[in-house]
C-alpha cells in the first residue's frame, strides 16, 4: 500500500477505487487575477521542461543545489497537480490497467506529447497514439486544441483492453497519470528515454511511484530463453550467465509486468509488494 492508498484508497488499492476517477471538470474558466500572467494550474507550455532543465543545470553547481532543485520541482508539481511528495504517476501492470479501463468513462487515445517533444513525431502519426485518456478530461479538447491536435480515437472498454494488450506486446510500460488532486486522468504507455515521466524517475528520482507488485522468476520453469531481458525498461532484469536463467533485482523492479506477459513458459509471476517485508517501503 503506497501513501496514496492510505489517503485515497478507502481500504483498497487507490487506483481501483472509483472515487478517484470522479471529478467535476466542467467548471467555468477562472478569471485571471490582475497582474498574474497565469492562473495556478493553467498549462504553462514550458513549465515542465523548465523544471527538468533546472535540475540538470543544478548538477553543475553541487549536491545541495541539486537537492534544492528537486525539492522545488516536487513542490511545484504538488501545487499545480495536487499530488503529495511530487509523485504524480504510478506504474501499473497490464491486468490493473485493464481493470482501470472498466472503471472510468469515456475512454480515448491521443498522441503522446513526450514523444512529440523528444523525438519530433507528429501528432497525426498513428504509431504515436499511445496516450490513453480516462474520464471527463477527454472532453476538454476544445479548450486546448494544441494538446489534442492529432484527434481523439474514442474506444469502448473492450477496444481499450485490446489496445492495452497490443501496446504491452510492443513493450510499452503502463503507468497512470494524475491530473489534479485525487483524479486519475490517463494511462501513459511509453518507454524509457522518450517518456519524460519515466526519465525523471530513473534519472532524478521523482515523479513516478513504483507499482504495487514485484516480479519473481521461478527457476524451475525458466529455461533461459532471454525474451524477458529485452523488455525491462528499468535495468532490473539481467541474464544470470552462471545459471543460464533470468535474474530480477527486486530493489530495482518497478512491477510493470512486461516480463511476466512476455514469458512463454509462465516462469515469471507478479507478487504483491506489501507481502514482502523488505520491499514494503521501496517505492
Amino acid at each position: 500500500m503506497c501513501h496514496y492508498c492510505d489517503m485515497w484508497g478507502d481500504g483498497t488499492i487507490w487506483y481501483l477505487n472509483p472515487k478517484n476517477y470522479a471529478r467535476h471538470m466542467y467548471t467555468l474558466p477562472k478569471e485571471a487575477k490582475p497582474g498574474a500572467t497565469k492562473a495556478v494550474g493553467e498549462a504553462d507550455p514550458a513549465g515542465y521542461i523548465n523544471l527538468e532543465r533546472a535540475m540538470v543545470d543544478a548538477l553543475e553547481r553541487g549536491p545541495e543545489e541539486y537537492e534544492k532543485a528537486i525539492k522545488f520541482a516536487r513542490d511545484m508539481v504538488d501545487m499545480t497537480q495536487g499530488s503529495v511528495g511530487g509523485w504524480m504517476g504510478q506504474v501499473v501492470p497490464l491486468r490493473d490497467a485493464e481493470r482501470m479501463a472498466e472503471i472510468s468513462n469515456p475512454l480515448g487515445l491521443i498522441a503522446c506529447i513526450c514523444r512529440k517533444a523528444m523525438l519530433g513525431i507528429e501528432e497525426r502519426c498513428p504509431e504515436n497514439m499511445t496516450c490513453m485518456g480516462l474520464g471527463v478530461g477527454m472532453l476538454k479538447w476544445e479548450r486546448w486544441p494544441e494538446r489534442y491536435k492529432g484527434g481523439v480515437h474514442w474506444l469502448s472498454i473492450e477496444e481499450t483492453k485490446q489496445w492495452l494488450r497490443d501496446l504491452d506486446t510492443k513493450g510499452f510500460v503502463h503507468s497512470l497519470m494524475m491530473f489534479g488532486p485525487r483524479f486519475i486522468g490517463g494511462i501513459c504507455n511509453c518507454d524509457y528515454p522518450a517518456c519524460d515521466a519515466l526519465t525523471m524517475r530513473l534519472d532524478h528520482g521523482f515523479n513516478m511511484l513504483k507499482g504495487h507488485h514485484v516480479a519473481m522468476v521461478d527457476y524451475d520453469l525458466c529455461n533461459g530463453c532471454g525474451i524477458c531481458v529485452q523488455r525491462c525498461q528499468f535495468g532490473a532484469l539481467k541474464m544470470n550467465v552462471t545459471l543460464d536463467k533470468a535474474n530480477i533485482d527486486q530493489m530495482r523492479c518497478f512491477g510493470c509486468g512486461l516480463c511476466e506477459t512476455a514469458c512463454p513458459r509462465k516462469a515469471i509471476s507478479l507478487k504483491e509488494r506489501s507481502k514482502i517485508p523488505s520491499l514494503q517501503e521501496v517505492w
Partner: protein, 105 residues
C-alpha cells in the same frame, strides 16, 4: 480529510550525489536562426541521447498552432547531462544554429 503531514511520503532517490558537481557541455541554440524547429526537427531525430526538447511556445486557447509559422515552436537542450558531444546535431542543422562547447574544469 486526511492529515497530509502524517502520511509517509516516499523519499527521492536522485543521482549519485557524491559525483557532483560535474561539468556539463554547454549547448546553445540561436533562436534567430532556428525559427521553425518542429517543421525541421532534424536535431530531435538525429540525437542518440534525446538531449533536445521541442515545445509549443505560444499556446493559445481554442486554437491549434501551425508548426510552419516562425517563432511558434522552440527547441531547447534539456538533458545536457546525457550529451556526449558526438556533434551530429551540429553537422545536421541546416541553419548552423547549434554550438556545443565544453569548458575545461
Amino acid at each position: 480529510m486526511v492529515d497530509k503531514s502524517k502520511i509517509k511520503v516516499p523519499k527521492a532517490t536522485p543521482q549519485d550525489l557524491t559525483r557532483l558537481p560535474i561539468k556539463l557541455p554547454k549547448i546553445t541554440i540561436d533562436h534567430n536562426k532556428c525559427t521553425v524547429p518542429f517543421w525541421c526537427k532534424k536535431c530531435l531525430q538525429v540525437c542518440p541521447q534525446l538531449v533536445f526538447q521541442c515545445y509549443c511556445k505560444h499556446l493559445e486557447k481554442l486554437r491549434e498552432s501551425d508548426p510552419r509559422q516562425p517563432g511558434i515552436y522552440e527547441v531547447i537542450a534539456v538533458r545536457r547531462d546525457k550529451c556526449h558531444i558526438c556533434n551530429k546535431c551540429v553537422e545536421m542543422c541546416p541553419e548552423n544554429a547549434i554550438t556545443i562547447t565544453l569548458e575545461e574544469a
